[in-house]
């Protein structure tokens, strides 16, 4: 039995599985999530005060979640801290796990209380948010990210519109459309940017492997049945390339795309709609792994070994931050991460099934990328005045003209000159888009090694909240740095 302490950040599928496995291996566990509820992106659910009649219909794997939640909530050895926004992570020297700083309480509350955590090992399970490419009109009310639309549909039980178009890329467009119809919306169609050829090449090279992911295949079938049943057309090789309207979305332009996602002009047509839900993939939440010094792979996910250990000692990672594989991959990785963080080994019998499941679902992840990954031609649907950075209102034209005026190969310089990515969302929405546009403008790409994923301040923190802790700190020598000469 281990006497280790394990700190888990993120209570989605990966974090919950990690917490349970670490407890099973005998560690004491602290589980933090900024949300007020357990479950993460996948198991968004109604607050207890408004129980839904039929959670099972709206949430796949609800029983898995209920069991995890029940077990952890009843376990005195697992401290669950909700409403805990981790805003900074400080690394230590040597093999010690980093210190994690959280603010606890409602975001808009007067003053959240600060709390700092350290443990023998840290499991990062912060998930991903969905990525939306800009297009003319994407800033109109009525345009939603697929994640936000799904949250409305699942959490609030509110239909986002009566004539809804779902567009973008990836297998998760289907469950989104399903949730929307269940909430009473009429989905006019699901438009997948990739052509059928690429989808088949991505999904079919080793079809027998897919059988291993039978749960996943069953899920996909369920969605397809839902689609057929509700007569939602699923169109491939097409995209919403503009949204129109004065005060909100009234119509969209849909066009066929070539293999590189360049719209084919003669195919554009206008469809009246009052809501558009778009998702072009996912951006992992990498702030904490980057702050911890964890290496990233070529696709910019956290590099992990068979134990889900990152390149930083005592820091493990699981779920979407290591690759987009869906809920089953997150559960398997989380279990292995929690077990190993508690001192267990990946060869131990208790994680044998998880290790096998991980192999199957990681394959699923690489298929998603092969079939649905963003292609560079999409910038052709931008107009000069299309906003790229909504926070700072930087248009595509302004970004490009600043870039060509300075001719700088420094991403930092380009951001500071154009102000793209400097607003309240700190580039969460536009960062990678800005990087791609600038790289397309400059053959050698950016050369300063800067990344829009790096955000030492993970979430806004009030000056009063910082200063309050400064006053406490004088009496707490452990918080004073050891680095001073």
């Amino acid at each position: 039995m281990s006497h280790r302490s394990v700190l888990v950040i993120g209570a989605g599928p990966a974090g919950l599985a990690a917490a349970r496995a670490a407890r099973a291996a005998g560690a004491s566990v602290t589980l933090l999530d900024s949300s007020d509820y357990l479950g993460g992106q996948y198991w968004r659910h109604l607050p207890a005060a408004r129980p839904a009649g039929n959670e099972k219909v709206l949430h796949h794997g609800w029983s898995t979640f209920s069991a995890l939640r029940r077990e952890l909530e009843a376990d005195a050895g697992c401290e669950i801290v909700l409403g805990a926004q981790v805003w900074a992570l400080e690394t230590a020297h040597g093999a010690e796990a980093p210190t994690v700083h959280a603010l606890i309480g409602p975001v808009d509350g007067i003053r959240r209380s600060g709390r700092s955590f350290t443990a023998d090992a840290l499991v990062l399970a912060t998930g991903a948010h969905d990525r939306t490419l800009p297009f003319p009109g994407w800033d109109l009310p009525g345009v939603f990210t697929a994640g936000a639309a799904q949250a409305f549909a699942k959490g609030e039980r509110v239909a986002v519109g009566s004539r809804v178009v779902v567009a973008g890329a990836g297998p998760f467009l289907l469950p989104v459309a399903a949730s929307l119809t269940q909430s009473g919306a009429r989905v006019l169609g699901v438009y997948e940017a990739n052509g059928i050829g690429r989808l088949l090449r991505g999904w079919l090279p080793r079809p027998w492997r897919l059988l291993g992911a039978s749960k996943k295949a069953g899920e996909a079938l369920g969605y397809l049945r839902n689609h057929l049943g509700n007569r939602i057309p699923y169109r491939t090789g097409q995209a919403v390339i503009a949204a129109h309207g004065t005060d909100r979305v009234e119509a969209v332009t849909i066009a066929k795309l070539d293999a590189e996602w360049r719209p084919i002009p003669s195919t554009a047509r206008r469809v009246s709609a009052d809501a558009v839900c778009v998702s072009h993939g996912f951006t992992p939440r990498l702030e904490l792994p980057i702050a911890a010094g964890c290496a990233l792979d070529a696709d910019r996910f956290v590099t992990v070994d068979g134990r889900q250990a990152t390149t930083t000692a005592s820091v493990y990672a699981a779920g979407e931050i290591t690759g987009i594989g869906g809920v089953d991959a997150a559960l398997a990785e989380g279990q292995i991460a929690g077990h190993c963080a508690a001192g267990g080994h990946q060869g131990d019998p208790v994680v044998k099934a998880a290790v096998a499941a991980r192999a199957t679902f990681t394959d699923f992840a690489s298929r998603i990328e092969a079939a649905h990954g963003i292609r560079p031609g999409w910038t052709a649907w931008l107009h000069e005045d299309t906003l790229v950075c909504r926070c700072e209102e930087v248009s595509y034209g302004r970004l490009c003209s600043a870039a060509s005026a300075t001719d700088s190969a420094s991403l930092r310089s380009q951001k500071l000159s154009s102000r793209a990515g400097l607003g309240i969302c700190q580039g969460r929405v536009c960062g990678r888009t800005v990087e791609q546009i600038l790289a397309a403008e400059r053959p050698g790409g950016m050369r300063d090694g800067a990344s829009t994923d790096r955000r030492p301040i993970v979430a806004p923190v009030r000056i009063g909240e910082l200063a309050a802790a400064a006053a406490d700190q004088t009496s707490s020598p452990t918080l004073i740095s050891t680095e001073r000469p």
Binding site: A405, R412, S413, I463, L466, Q473, R484
Partner: protein
């Protein structure tokens, strides 16, 4: 320097030799390249990464006289202050309206003492500055509150400096470099300098550099590598006591303008003029055109360690509230920081290296390199061209007495 060696040769983009090599494309290197290229010399700028990716992209753009006591640095700052308006206008004309704005603004600075003990030293410091020709106007607390209505009314003394100005440091660096290119300078990025090429006849004399992108030759090589100048000098075979002094700045989310000048607490003087390695923070608070508030900054000597230290953020935050209590509910959304090129005697090095003919330095401006860049370039260009420097250059010589104990032995 014997200037007969200068050829002012016609220079083409692929050229591997020139009259002058500038190492580093920060604001100092950019300003030097521009001044030299405009004098008709051929210039090659070598940058290991991308231009404007080092310290010049990681700090603020205050062009201050308020923080400098009487002496050589103040004279340099006063001269620099006289250059900025005309250079900004020249750059705007030369580069056109599409070029990102330099955001030059002479918005004025208000220095405030927040303790009883701090009042008298602040006023005495200002009196000394006035004697040295600085517009340093003591203002009563009421007047200070007229200038800055949100200021903590518990302030004990205040001095207004109408000449304090600012630029956007990255845009300024890029503009100086773009202007240098228009005058014929070439910029090689991804070219890290790794060693010196020396004359076979006179082994002390530097005639070029080796880089990760090949060899480059010039009779004059200028080290302008910011906090890395010590490292670069060592690679070139000489010692230079430039060390990194880390600084962090906090940036709030956008808000309606409630701060109208640069506002500092009096502690600032203590921090800039001290060599203490331990963490020091002092407040410099101002609003930007974009609506964010910048709160600087810290000073600590911890090498090139870039990791976040929450203790530093807390210290900066606590100090800023002493000036502007309303900031309590403002949210910090980002921090940035870099490494000021620190010199043990608090003066930059501008001029020839007496130990290695052909080698020049333009380094060590610590927390004032943006402001002092134009003046530095003019002095260096004059020295290199053999004309009379626009202001006394002797205090910045590498051979000055205060540096002697720090130079070690030349390799």
């Amino acid at each position: 320097m014997p200037l007969g060696t200068l050829r002012a040769t016609a220079h083409h983009a692929g050229a591997r030799s020139a009259d002058v090599i500038v190492i580093g494309a920060g604001i100092i290197g950019a300003a030097c390249a521009r001044s030299l290229a405009r004098s008709g010399l051929s210039v090659i700028v070598l940058e290991r990464s991308a231009a404007a990716s080092g310290t010049s992209a990681k700090g603020e753009g205050n062009l201050l006289v308020s923080d400098k006591g009487p002496g050589a640095e103040l004279r340099l700052a006063q001269y620099a202050g006289s250059l900025w308006p005309s250079v900004v206008a020249e750059l705007r004309t030369e580069l056109g309206p599409d070029f990102p704005s330099l955001e030059y603004e002479r918005k004025g600075g208000l220095v405030v003492a927040t303790t009883d003990a701090g009042a008298a030293p602040l006023l005495a410091f200002a009196a000394g500055q006035r004697a040295a020709g600085v517009d340093a106007l003591p203002v009563g607390i009421e007047e200070a509150l007229e200038l800055e209505p949100e200021l903590n009314p518990a302030a004990t003394a205040a001095v207004f400096y109408p000449d304090d100005a600012q630029v956007q440091p990255v845009a300024a660096t890029e503009a100086l470099l773009a202007s240098a290119r228009r005058s014929g300078a070439t910029v090689h990025i991804d070219a890290r300098v790794t060693g010196a090429i020396r004359s076979q006849l006179h082994p002390d004399t530097v005639t070029g550099v080796r880089t990760t992108a090949g060899e480059f030759h010039a009779p004059h090589v200028i080290v302008a590598a910011g906090p890395w100048s010590g490292e670069v000098a060592e690679a070139l075979g000489v010692s230079l006591p430039v060390r990194p002094r880390r600084g962090m700045v906090l940036v709030t989310t956008r808000m309606p303008h409630r701060i109208f000048h640069k506002v500092y607490d009096g502690d600032y003087f203590g921090a800039t003029q001290s060599s203490d390695a331990a963490l020091q923070t002092s407040s410099v608070v101002e609003s930007t055109a974009a609506g964010t508030v910048l709160i600087g900054s810290s000073r600590e000597q911890i090498g090139f360690d870039e990791r976040l230290r929450v203790e530093v953020l807390r210290g900066i935050a606590a100090k800023s509230l002493r000036l502007f209590p309303f900031l309590e509910n403002a949210s910090i959304m980002r921090t940035y920081g870099g490494f000021r090129p620190f010199m043990p005697d608090h003066l930059p090095v501008i001029g020839a290296d007496h130990r290695a003919p052909g080698l020049w330095h333009a380094s060590g401006h610590e927390g004032a390199g943006i402001g002092l860049s134009l003046a530095t370039a003019e002095i260096l260009a004059a020295q290199l061209l053999g004309t009379t420097p626009p202001t006394d250059a002797a205090p910045f010589s590498l051979a000055r007495a205060s540096l002697a104990p720090h130079l070690g032995s030349a390799a």
